[in-house]
Each structure stands twice: as structure tokens, then as C-alpha cells.
Amino acid sequence: MLNNHEANLTDEEAAAEVARVAKTYPVVRLLSVDQIKSEPNCLLAGDRCPCLRQSSLEALADSDEVSEKLLSDGTEYRARLRPLKVEGEPHVLLMVRPINEQEAAEEDLVYTDVLTSVRNRRYYEEKLRNARMNAGVAVIDLDDFRVFNDTCGRHAGDLALGAVATAIRSGIRSTDELVRYGCDKFVVVMPNIPSDDFTRRLHQVSDAVHATIIPGHEYVRLTACVGGVRIHGETVDEGVGRAVQLLSRAKTKAGTVVSDADSIEAFQSEKPLVLIIDDSEMNRVILNEMLKDEYCILEADNGRTALDMVDRYGDELSLVLLDIVMPGMSGFEVLADLSRRSVSDNLPVIMISSEDSDDAVLRAYELGASDYISRPFDSRVVRRRVSNTIRLYAKQRRLTNLLSQQYNERVKNSRMLIDIMAGVMELRNGESGRHVTNIEKLTELLLGCLVQRSGTISLDNEERSTIALASALHDIGKMSIDDAILNKPGRLTPEEFEIMKTHTTMGADMLLELGRHHVGNALMEYAYQIARWHHERWDGKGYPDGLKGDEIPIAAQVVSVADVYDALTSVRVYKDAIPHKEAIQMILDGKCGTFNPLLLDCLLEVQDRIAETLARPADVVAFPTI
């Protein structure tokens, strides 16, 4: 192999080298500097050229081989430009051959992002960065991707990136370059694209990202901000730099698409809306001037008008600047009014006044102001505070949204699982209808009443609904009771009853065993207590442990009453349904064992609501029998 830098060949040697490489390269030319510089047409393909002139000169200048990949008539070629001297004169040996598939695949691999299968940063650095062209260059930045990654997990984040890359691909031309530029940033380069098509495609990309469905996280909607600029002979990197700048303006609002081809008005319509409330026109004018480039400004010269405007514009408003001392309604009164309407949770208010005493500042914060600007105004500070506050609130809104979507989804999922499990249990226990659902509702009703009546039992909303949810598992131990006993139409023999009673301890053990990875989980704790002790009685005559009074955990006490009521009012293989009133009376009379007197009071209090809330027998759809 020749050492390129040092090679100085004779004419003959050069001819031999040409012949040698011609065995592997279908196209080989030996070019002198004059030829390279003066040949009017393309060195390779005349006027159909993917030009190599520049690369040839580069190779000469650097005294180093240059390698190019080029596309001609649908075939990819590898062109190598090797500088060498022939009879002391610098030449370039141009060798071109089609790239075979394996080689192409290998090269692709080096330049492909593993997660998204689009071009990687290395490709950008080596192939795109310094390329000069006429093109549309866009930076696509996913909004709040880190939050998504942190809350849904890395795996979901990886899936999302793949889905987003596919979405972006769908919005651009097949010949356009798509690069994963950073963790959640993509760069698109669209050579020779007309301005209107460029803008249209950027919007398509944004829409496609928004429509992206992430497998397993169907409830999450991703958005991306897109900044696009057109370059005319500048490098791609310069274009990316400008697009990033443009993007930093767009980032105030998730999902914004901004390109330098947009008319000013089009971009303005995307500007956040800011309301300035100040009685002095002079002060409003100053603030307006400071902010009008970045925001759409509304003005109000008194509190009443301002509140009307808040009502009218609602969610469209991004921020309020509020003067404290005003005739009529003061700024504090306006703020208090906004807090009462709980508008200020979503609408940040920045107070402005020269009343910079600590009291005024503190009072403003107490009334829900987000920030405070004192006079004299400094445009630099005002702008920064306004933009920071708007971003913070926008981010918080998106975050809250994301989290509550996820939370609701989780709750829905665990609900569904528990419902299925309960359904399976009912099926096997031969309990027609909604035994589990009824017990849950009853438990919730009784708990609500109990907390009100008792001075000592404190259970918040969440704990109460956790207990109610856990009640669904109260009979889980019946899974291990022989079907012949469980569904025996007649009375159980004493031996059979002893076996039946073990469903409490079996259930508790099951939960202990199955839930050992969830030690300390409130749902598990309650489910254990309920499964084990929902047949205990206040006087100690229940089973399995014969606990007495408040030795029985309150969750189990409540479920035991609910269980008894529902058993009485439901049809069983061995009995008919007993009417509501009669059932209540039987429980009060101690026909089903003794209960906590306080709980019986509660039962009396909620008895009408029980009748309303629970499915009446006519509504009950029996599970199919096996």
C-alpha cells in the first residue's frame, strides 16, 4: 500500500497504479491540479455531477485522502480521493465504486442512533455540521421530556424517543436528514426546500409528535417545540445555532412551532397574553414598552375592569402585573378576589408598587402573589421576572397534568385488577352479584360516619378509600376452601364449618406471603387485617383469634358489619335475600353477633343512604355459574 503523503510516482508507476485500482473501482481517473481546477464539467459525471471538485481540492490541500459517499441514479457510491505526486506534480487519484450492501450497513451502523434508528450526533459532527447548502434547518425539542423520563421510567422514555423519531420522519421528505442531536433534541435538514413547504412540514412534524402514541403510556401526550431557519450557503451548524435561538423564544409555550419564514403577526399570535393593571397611564406605557416584543399586552386602569378581563380571557392569560395602590379597588383587593376564585393557582400575579415596605411584600405573598417588583422599574429585571414566572407556571401546569394523568391511570388500573380478582372470587364463592362492590360502598359509608362520630378515630379521605379498596379482598382465603364446602347448598356440619372458618387465616397468610414485597404498604396492611379479622366479634365470640372490642382493628370491624349486612340481603345457595329493614334490625338485635356499639349507631345513621346507594336485588346481574 502506498503511503499517500509521500507518494511520488513516475508516469509509468502512476499508470500501473491506475490499472491496479481499476480492478476494484469501475471509475478511476488520475487528475492533475490544472484539470481539477479548469475542467468545466464534473470530473466524474459531467453535468449530472455530485461534485467532487471541492473534495479533490481539499484532498490536495490537506495531503490526505478524502472519502465521500455519493448518490447517483439511486445507487450509492464510495468515492476516494487520494492525493499523490506524479513526476513531482500534485495529482489526485479519484476512485469510485458502488457501495456494497454490507459496507453500507456497517457505515450506517456507525452513524445510526441506537434508540431511534435515525442519524446520530457523530453523523452530524462528521457529515453535516460543516456542509454548506441551501436548506431548511430545524431543531425539534421535546417539551418536559426529562419529567416524562423520571416519572414513567427510562424504558418508557426510550420507547417515546423511538416513537417520536418515527413521527418526525413521517412529517419530512425521505431525502431529508434527521439527526438525534441531543437527548431530547432532533435536527432536521431539508435541502433545497421551498419556504412555504418548509413551514408546512415543521407544523406537520409538531402535529405528528403530538399525535404520537407511546406503547404502554397511551394517556401521555408529548409535545415538541420546533424552531426552523433557512440557510443559504451557510453551514448547517450556523443554521442550527440560529434555530436554537429561535427555539428559546418559542419555548415559553409547549408545542410552539416557529420559523424565520413566519410573518411577525403569525408569531405574535403565539405570544403569551399579559395583563397590566395600573391606574397610571405613564406606568402602563413604560411596562407595555418593556414587554410588548415578547408578549401580547392588555391594559386595565382599575381593579373592576381588570377582574372583568380576567373573567373574559380566562386561561388565555399567562400573567398579571398588578399595581398595589389604585383608586377604587386596591391591588390587594384585586388579588384577594383572584384568590377567592382560585384563579391565582393557575394565573401568576406579579405585584408592582413603590410600597416596598416588608409588610406590603408579605401581604402580597400571603394573598397569593407569585412575585413582587418594586419601583423604579428596570426593564432588564421586569422582563426576566415576567418570563421566568410564565415559564415556571407553564411548566408546572404541564407537569401537574402529566402526573394527574398518570395517577388516574394507575388508580384505574389497580381498580380494574381488584375488580377482576373480586369477580373471580365471587364466581367461585357462588356469591351472586356485587358482594364485593357492595361491601366496598358500605365500608366507605360506615367509615365516613364513624370518623364524624368518634373523637378518637382519625382517618383521612385517602385512608378511608384505601380501607374500602382493601375490603375487596376480605374473602380471598375462600380460594383455598374446597368447592364442596364452599358451595354446599345445605347447612355445614361442625367439621365443615371449622374448615370454612380457616378462610380468614388462609386469606391473611396469602396476603402476607403474596404481599411480602409490599411490606409497609397501607393497602396490604388493611387487607391483611380485614381478611384475618372480619369474622371477629365485639364480645370476643368471633373467629379466628377471639379478639375483643378494640383489639379488633377498626378496618376489620367496619368490614365485618358490612359483610354481615350484605350477606343477609343477598341470595345464597342456602337462603333467600332478606329485605333491607329487616336485615338492619337483625344486626342491631345481635342476631349475627355483637358489634361495636358506635358502629351500630353509624349503621342506623346511614341506613337510608345504604338503601339508596347499594344495588337493589332487581339491579343485580348474577355472574354466570360455572
Binding site: 391606574d279 405613564m282 413604560i286 418593556m290 395602590v325 419601583r375
Partner: protein
């Protein structure tokens, strides 16, 4: 015709600081000239004459804020005196003394601004 800087210096106001805060000389000049149309001094004088302490406080407070924003330190200081004399007051009498100095500075400021406006 004098420059805005000259007008500021003439009345003892802080031109450089206001310039830095309010986006440069051109913008500052626009704001400063707008002060010629500001009504808070008229309102203050009318409220003082009518013995309306609350109205006078509001107007003085606005004048204080505007002059502070525009960097009219000469006007801001007597405006503070008058505003504080009127804060929570039932009558306007306590502010009469301060009004004198305020009116003087106001007249000087307006005259300098008019010169700059020519």
C-alpha cells in the same frame, strides 16, 4: 432645544440610571416627554384644594411612582414627603408644607422637559 441628558442634569435627575433601566436614551426620551401629559400633579392640586385627603394621597402616590420610574429624583423626594404626609390622613393640611417644594420641583421639571421637547 436641549438634549434629554441636559434636561435631566439641569433639574438634578439621574439620567444614566434611568437610561440603563428604561431601554436606552431614545426610549427614555419618549417616556420622559410623555410626562408632560401626566395628570397626577393636576389631580393632586385639585384634591388638595378640595380638601380630599384620600384623592390627594392617590395622586401624590402616583406622581411619586412615575417620577421614580423616570428617574426624576428631584421630584421623587418631595413627592415622598407629600405622600407620607397624606397616608392615612383625614385632612390635607399636613401636606401643605411639602406641596410647596413639590410644586417648585414640578415646575422646574416641566420647564426642562419643554425645553427638551422643542
Amino acid at each position: 432645544m436641549i438634549s434629554m441628558r441636559e434636561a435631566y442634569e439641569k433639574i438634578g435627575a439621574n439620567y444614566d440610571d434611568a437610561c440603563a433601566r428604561l431601554m436606552g436614551g431614545e426610549m427614555l426620551a419618549r417616556f420622559a416627554l410623555k410626562f408632560l401629559d401626566d395628570e397626577s400633579m393636576d389631580k393632586l392640586e385639585a384634591a388638595m384644594a378640595a380638601g380630599d385627603a384620600e384623592g390627594a394621597f392617590m395622586a401624590a402616590h402616583t406622581l411619586k411612582g412615575v417620577s421614580q420610574n423616570l428617574g426624576f429624583d428631584n421630584l421623587y423626594e418631595p413627592a415622598v414627603v407629600v405622600t407620607e404626609a397624606l397616608r392615612g390622613a383625614d385632612a390635607v393640611d399636613g401636606a401643605r408644607e411639602g406641596m410647596h417644594a413639590l410644586q417648585q420641583q414640578y415646575a422646574a421639571t416641566m420647564s426642562a422637559l419643554r425645553e427638551a421637547a422643542e
